[in-house]
């Protein structure tokens, strides 16, 4: 289903009337970012896998395609989206995954979502269709705008389709559990990170560190022998629950006053002592439900060279860490170049973009 023409028409009309548009497909990530506003633009009419060539390790897919449908197709060829995007609901689409830029446990080993974006077509604020990047692994022609769309929360335009790098599923996978205090878990995961071990996911919560190994069967076995730990049964479920935030840690519920924060910090950062904590990505991603006020959390994240996001809950007026003035100016100019009428998801990312 190709719906470019109708989307184009809608965008041009909205731009002419300066009508804000809230780009929304399945709504599985409605909770994320600042409060959405504007008329809903649903891109799900533009859906379907355009081209999938397993031996090229590339899939081109329209943004309205269900994420689950894409993953099922890849799984049939024993391949995967290696960044393990969270769905947060059955209605999750590829476009929403790209726009939110979120990644799951394997991110620490394979790279972020943006590292898998090879190309994208974007409908800009003038109604023009722009085609960035391409369908090949290695491409340095033109600026890499396709990757910048990852995590842009739909503020630069309507993502129409993307070409993604895919990877084979690992032959073998195993999860180990260690009883460790927070500081020891952080130190240990970083020490392992400096050794040639096939670690593809880590999670620490409730005094337990879980470590996933992926790769050749012999390599996984050897790594287990080397680092020890007890084998975890049903580990596929564990990592899926972490990715989807259905694990008990996340189930306490969030509200206007009870906020789940995401802190991205240098992985070696010692315990932040802000409240109940779940740590992923070898120490780099920390989920915290703090008692401290937002300003203190932001200041602490900034002090260690990271940033904090009010991921779920809260008043949703300033979800993301404020930017330095020089970088903020680049953001504003980029936004006004791609969306001169300011119609795409205004305010969802930052109040002025």
């Amino acid at each position: 289903m190709d719906a470019v023409a109708s989307l184009q028409e809608r965008v041009r009309a909205a731009a002419a009337a300066r009508t804000p548009l809230a780009i929304r497909a399945g709504g599985s990530k409605d909770f994320y970012g600042n409060e959405p506003r504007g008329e809903v633009l649903d891109p799900r009419g533009h859906a379907g896998i355009v081209e999938y060539e397993p031996t090229e390790l590339v899939v081109t897919v329209r943004a309205g395609t269900l994420l689950a449908e894409l993953e099922t197709t890849l799984a049939a060829s024993r391949q995967m989206l290696a960044f393990e995007p969270p769905h947060f609901g059955e209605s999750a689409t590829v476009g929403g995954a790209i726009a939110s830029g979120l990644a799951g446990p394997r991110r620490m080993a394979v790279g972020a979502l943006r590292d898998f974006v090879l190309g994208a077509r974007l409908l800009d604020g003038r109604g023009n269709v722009l085609a960035f990047g391409g369908r090949v692994m290695k491409n340095v022609a033109g600026y890499d705008v396709a990757r910048t769309l990852a995590g842009s929360l739909g503020t630069l335009g309507v993502i129409l389709d993307v070409s993604l790098k895919v990877l084979p599923r690992p032959v073998a996978e195993q999860t180990l559990r260690f009883e460790l205090a927070e500081a020891d878990a952080i130190r240990r995961t970083n020490e392992w990170g400096g050794q040639p071990l096939p670690i593809s996911g880590t999670a620490w919560f409730d005094g337990q560190l879980y470590v996933r190994l992926s790769g050749a069967a012999a390599g996984v076995r050897a790594a287990h022998e080397k680092i020890g730990g007890s084998l975890v049964a049903e580990d596929t479920l564990l990592w899926a629950e972490l990715r989807e935030q259905s694990q008990a840690f996340f189930n306490a519920g969030t509200s206007r006053t009870r906020v789940l924060w995401r802190l991205a910090v240098p992985p070696t950062t010692p315990p932040l002592e802000l409240g109940s904590t779940l740590i992923e990505w070898g120490g780099g991603q920390r989920w915290i439900v703090p008692d401290a006020p937002a300003a203190e959390i932001r200041a602490k994240a900034a002090a260690v060279g990271g940033h904090a996001t009010a991921f779920r809950g809260g008043d949703r007026s300033a979800v993301f860490q404020p930017l330095d003035p020089g970088v903020a100016a680049i953001h504003r100019r980029l936004k006004s170049e791609f969306d001169p009428a300011g119609i795409f998801n205004p305010g969802r990312f930052y109040p002025d973009i």
Binding site: N128, N139, V140, S152, G194, P198, G215, G219, Q285
Partner: protein, 511 residues
Amino acid sequence: MSPTAATGASRLLADRIPLEGVGRVDVERQRSVVDALRTFLPDHCLLWREEDTRPYECDGLTIYRQLPMVVALPETEDEVARIVRICHQQQVPIVPRGAGTGLSGGALPHGRGVLLSLAKFNRILKVDPLARTALVQPGVRNLAISEAVAHLGLYYAPDPSSQIACTIGGNIAENSGGVHCLKYGLTLQNVLRVRGVTSDGAIVEIGSEAPDAAGYDLLSLVVGSEGMLVVITEATVKLVPKPLKQQVIMASFDDVEKGGDAVAAVIAAGIIPAGMEMMDKPATAAVEPFVKAGYDLDAEAILLVESDGTPEEVAEEIDRIKSVLDGSGATRIAVSNSEAERLRFWAGRKAAFPAVGRISPDYYCMDGTIPRKRLGEVLKAISTMEGKYRLRCANVFHAGDGNLHPLIMFDANDPDSVVRAEQFGFEILELSIAVGGTVTGEHGVGVEKIHQLCQQFDAATLEAFFAVRRAFDPAGLLNPGKAIPTLARCAEYGRMHVHGGALKFPELPRY
């Protein structure tokens, strides 16, 4: 290409649609800029006499040359910022330069501008073994990073062929690759954060030592921007653990297409090798007498497939790769049995460029990426072009990621041969686009491939690239005229292109 190439360059396409900033140095303007820079730059950091600026007239693409008006070699970030501010005040273009090894003319000087060399920014500021990061200045050589952290069992993964000389700043500008990209990524995947100066003289930090930074992912734009968005003064790079073992398989094929199919079969089997490189017969014929790597000279193509990891992982993977290659019709298979043998198998591949330089006075290296499945077809087309342009071509191929490096052999002392080499190259680039690929996989657009971008991207997308540039550099002073063609240039090129080899505007002025 060897430095002798410039002699024959006078009839090149670039001369017919003049590149920006080509021409004689304006002495008045030069004096004004030199006087302003002298107020804070020490004498040894400022060059403007022709005998001093001559060494900067080109980068690794020697076919294009231009004297810079001024060369500045600052030693501190504050000096960089002051140079940039003065240039901003006087509307003087700035061309940043690392080691000058780039192959696409990205550091070609601007005749009315300042060439900003970061060569003196050559210190590794900090290594954090636990976090596996290094904080480096942009003039640090790529290989120097790996050497400095080798004792920690770590290294910096991207390994462009020029790694002994090229700098990390240049790697960031070009988003450089190497032979291990499929598994370890390009520069973008191995740089966490950069600090630099924008064209108004402001200091910005982009990216983060955390897994991500707040806001748009601007690092994706800056890496590979060919020095047009930010002058880099510092970078944090990622270090990865050195694999415990590396082993390489060398397989021969009696047909290049079969070799290409074998590459696809390895991937279909769910294997991502650390490196997968192919060389055709002309390439092995050029290197074998030179390095004695033990290549099968009867083979139409040879494939090198490397596995790395723990000894257990490598043993398992090598077995699997071997059986896939067996099943793909390899006529001969050899597995390296020692580190010495592994290095010998690679020596030929790594010496391919100089070896071709040994059998031909000059060569022109192309850099298209194509979908792997089109390899056979593309190589056949290149072989037809050899007849058409009466020039030989050897092909080396980063087969894992589809990045093809045809080496067109020509003689720079024969102007007609130069023009044929250039047209041969352009035809390969255009073919790369036609089969669904790109004109540059890792060398950058620079000035060399700027016209082919008119074919790869439509007008609206090219305009969006300029929009990105304006967002970072509203005044358009950083490396103007590179990487992104103006629509006017495309229109001019399109008109010429219609007439193919018979160029239409010999009367166009040269500035």
